[in-house]
């Protein structure tokens, strides 16, 4: 089924936050943010700004009636800085004016004096100074200390992965419209409407039931609007509440890039031990997560790094420790993969390093250690593995041997151009790792004309969630999909929503929708059973008609609905779904946190230009575990899109802060994301369809995040291509592998001599 937003998308009629028609008298907001990464505010001068044309009012921390606090997991982040600033871009004041231009012009007139304090940008330095967001955590399996004695080879090393700007093409924003009795409606570009509602309630000191958050769709989220959309909602609401006027703030791209957090950069140390059969016996890893200046979602991201530290390998002895390090950067946040990719990069680097030391192909080590069903993850869950199935299928279907031979032949025949090939298996756990967040609700109404309205807790952001929700309702009721409308996500219709994140939203909201539709259908069948004096088990509703004992009756869906209404039978249902069987005990760091895992294998081939360091990704050939895809068009799109984003993170997207904590890659001109020209020339995706039961909606496995990690394969393919040119190259495990870094790795000697 085609994406249900297709028609409005291609006509430019899809409504995003900045397209909502404005209420008369709407005012516009803009933030004055800190120019300094760390310091004590000495003075804030807003007088000149107040005199600017069109300025209505300027809000500071002193104007907050409730708690000046937006921290979700830990209360450590102010909405507007009161006494100290902790990162460049930290909001200090909110200017509200009669136009967007007037607000932005006035922001430039605000003057601030700050007594600087020491700035930390490096997570290892933060750890040394004991600047930690939460105490460190350690996941352990077996006993690594004892296991080292059983290892024939022990290899150690360090890695670094940089952050990543979300660059949702629709920037952050909110629009708050006051309602009667001091209630507020907030249109928000958020993945977490309830998070906006909760934060605003806290800031304004009003109950949550007075705050309606409504989201039609996002122009991209990728995790960046999971927690970090709340500030803008709360700010607009703060101004609207004081002024009794609608207030809108749609961030400029550069404001957005400067003020919001990104994917967490990590710095890591590893020690890996193997036996003579290339089995990994022991693995120790320490992660230093660059959390930025406040917790935001960092503790949860750090947790997922630990969950995925062994990727899709079984290692009997593991000790993984993670530190969430507090630095003076914007608080880093969720980004597709949520810490998982950072954990998986390190084990892949460890395997690459081991392979180089033992002079074998990393593919051999990868293959020998793939997870099997029944193996235990370091966190105690027992694997239901498809790792070998995906791997073997990829190797055979795409003829790995031939691909490798082609690469070798090319490299033998070309001096200044080299190819590299790498395999990247993935394993990603589905569910929020915080068990309580795994719940969702759906509200389904059947109207008397037979049409259906569905509201859920999920937010549509391009991932096709609403299409899948509609498919669920159409399938259960067995009616024409055109009779169903999926409505905006609204906290007045569906309350206490978990954010649309963790790849789990189709499962959670789809199942809630399924439960609601089944309940309504059951009542409708009772009506039909009475009418036809038949047993309810003999009643079926199929293709808009009522069937009794397999025979079509003259009752249509419409007639059935009308009959039920006349009999005063409820045509509405509000359903709740919480996946069973998941739990996690943080005191032991053991449990069964995931409803299931998603597996896959990608074979990536690249070509590098050994004179310039530039490169192309020739092909990525994937076998991906979809379970039983309920919408292959959408799922392929998710798979390709995640892959491209993962390749971007690993190759060209270079986020740069200077020592003073100022973002240098602060626009699209200085931060390169994959364009249509730089995506792989060939992407092939094979669906590994499995018949096994799982907890996914209609057995169609989650697909949002897992394929992002195929992008790690591009890094190691480039790594191997450099090795093909210069086998002695000592390539640091430092992602992204920009063309500049490729060039430096190709000619380390020249680099040394020039230093």
């Amino acid at each position: 089924m085609m994406n249900i937003d297709s028609y409005t998308h291609v006509r430019g009629e899809s409504v995003y936050l900045d397209d909502i028609p404005l209420v008369n008298g709407t005012l516009f907001a803009s933030v004055f943010d800190s120019p300094v990464a760390h310091g004590k505010i000495k003075s804030l001068d807003i007088d000149a700004a107040m005199k600017m044309p069109g300025v209505v009012r300027i809000f500071t921390a002193a104007d907050i009636p409730g708690e000046n606090q937006i921290g979700g997991i830990i209360a450590d982040e102010e909405l507007l800085a009161s006494t100290h600033v902790h990162f460049c871009g930290m909001p200090v004041a909110l200017v509200v004016a009669t136009s967007d231009e007037a607000a932005k012009a006035a922001v430039k007139k605000i003057k601030i004096e700050i007594d600087p304090l020491p700035v930390i940008t490096d997570p290892r330095e933060a750890k040394e100074k004991n600047e930690l967001i939460i105490p460190p955590r350690t996941f352990q399996l077996g006993d690594t200390t004892a296991a080292w004695t059983q290892c024939d080879y022990i290899i150690e090393g360090s890695t670094a992965t940089n952050g990543q700007e979300h660059l949702y093409i629709e920037t952050q924003g909110a629009y708050a419209v006051p309602q009667e009795n001091s209630a507020i409606r907030i249109y928000s570009s958020t993945q977490g409407p309830t998070q906006v509602q909760r934060t605003t309630a806290r800031v304004l000191n009003i109950p949550m039931n007075f705050i309606e958050v409504d989201t039609t769709r996002l122009g991209g989220g990728f995790g960046g609007k999971e927690d970090q959309a709340s500030a803008w909602g709360a700010m607009c609401a703060l101004a609207a509440w004081h002024l009794k006027k609608p207030v809108k703030y749609s961030l400029h791209r550069m404001e957005d890039m400067r003020m919001t957090g990104k994917r967490h950069p990590y710095s890591s140390d590893f020690k890996i031990g193997l036996n003579k059969d290339y089995k990994i016996v022991a693995y120790e890893v320490t992660f230093f997560q660059n959390a930025g200046a406040a917790a935001d979602l960092s503790p949860a991201v750090m947790e997922r790094t630990l969950f995925h530290c062994t990727n899709s390998y079984f290692i009997p002895n593991v000790k993984a420790t993670a530190y969430s390090c507090k630095t003076n950067l914007p608080p880093n946040t969720a980004f597709r993969g949520f810490g998982g990719p950072q954990g998986m990069f390190v084990i892949e680097a460890a395997i690459a390093e081991a392979a180089a030391a033992l002079n074998v192909s990393p593919i051999l080590i990868q293959q020998k250690n793939l997870l099997k069903t029944g193996d235990e993850f370091p966190y105690g869950q027992i694997a239901q593995s498809e790792a070998n199935e995906c791997w073997d299928k990829a190797v055979n279907l795409y003829d790995l041997q031939k691909l490798q031979q082609e690469v070798d032949a090319y490299n033998n025949n070309n001096k200044l151009s080299k190819k590299g090939l790498a395999l990247m298996p993935i394993c990603f756990g589905i569910s929020f790792t915080k068990t309580l967040m795994n719940q969702a609700r759906a509200l389904v109404h059947v109207y008397t004309d037979g049409s259906v309205g569905v509201s859920t807790a999920g937010v549509e952001m391009g991932q096709g969630l609403n299409t899948k929700i509609l498919q669920v309702a159409a399938s259960i009721f067995s009616i024409n999909p055109e009779r169903i409308k999926v409505n905006t996500t609204n906290t007045y219709r569906v309350a206490n929503t978990s954010p649309t994140a963790a790849s789990a939203s189709s499962d959670l909201n789809g199942k809630a929708t399924e439960i609601a539709c089944v309940a309504i259908l059951q009542r409708l069948k009772e009506v039909a059973a009475e009418e036809f004096t038949a047993d309810i088990s003999s009643i079926e509703v199929k293709e808009d008609c009522v069937f009794v004992n397999g025979k079509q009756t003259d009752w249509s869906w419409n007639k059935l609905v009308q009959a039920a209404f006349v009999k005063r039978v409820s045509l509405s249902e509000h359903a709740h779904y919480a996946p069973p069987g998941i739990w996690f005990d943080t005191t032991k760091e053991k449990g069964h946190p995931f409803t299931y895992h998603v597996y896959g294998t990608a074979i990536t081939t690249v070509t590098i230009d050994c004179l310039r360091g530039i490169y192309e990704v020739d092909s990525v050939k994937i076998v991906h575990d979809f379970g039983k895809s309920m919408n292959p068009i959408i799922d392929i799109g998710q798979c390709e899109g995640a892959l491209v984003q993962g390749i971007g993170w690993m190759t060209m997207e270079e986020m740069l802060y200077d020592k003073e904590g100022k973002l240098k890659s602060n626009a699209l001109s200085t931060y390169k994301v994959p364009d249509i020209y730089s995506v792989p020339k060939e992407i092939t995706i094979h669906f590994l369809e499995t018949e096994k039961e799982n907890l996914a909606i209609f057995r169609s496995k989650a697909v949002g995040e897992p394929p992002l990690m195929y992008g790690i394969g591009a890094y190691f393919a480039l790594f191997n291509a450099i090795k093909a040119f210069n086998p002695a190259a000592n390539i640091p495990y430092d992602a992204p592998m920009t063309p500049e870094k490729v060039l430096m790795s190709l000619y380390p000697q020249t680099l040394k001599e020039n230093k």
């Binding site: 430039k108 391009g462 068009i633 994959p674 364009d675 020209y677």
Partner: protein, 201 residues
Amino acid sequence: MDTTNKNEGRRDFLKKSTALAALTIASPALIKAGDNDEKIAAYFEKVPLELEINGQAYKLSVEPRVTLLDLLREQLGLTGTKKGCDHGQCGCCTVHVDGKRINSCLSLAVMSHGKKVTTIEGLAKGEELHPMQEAFMKHDGFQCGYCTPGQIMSAIGCIREGHANTAEDVREYMSGNICRCGAYPNIVDAIMEVKKGGKQL
């Protein structure tokens, strides 16, 4: 630099220079009101603009600094054209001026005086979609949809310019339109299909 003085300087300059011009071109009624410098400045800070947008003629009065993008979105309510970066780096705001694709965020509205502008809203004939719109639907050439209007306008321009003979060509000449969701393979397929269809766009 103190931006206050700079802005005031600009306004003062306008008042003085336009007062002179006013003597020659403004209506007598306005010269009478010319005692009030502010009114004259305001008058001359807006310029007349006549253009055609999606087949409809407009007679407008706009500030010279207003971009075509802001004119479309903020003043005419044509919100199908999107603002992604406002610096000509993402391609979201692509529209056609006299049939050629441009970034409307990098173009001042006044530059389109006397010209024909086509936005995403002007492509379909009622319910009947433009072939490129059809192709994007058929090939799922989007995910979140935010960059889609710009992609479609740019894609039509790409074919008109003769830059869509091969998939390689399409990649090169569509590289100014960013899709962060990464729907690129499908976008290439959609454009190639329209190109092969051979319809005059």
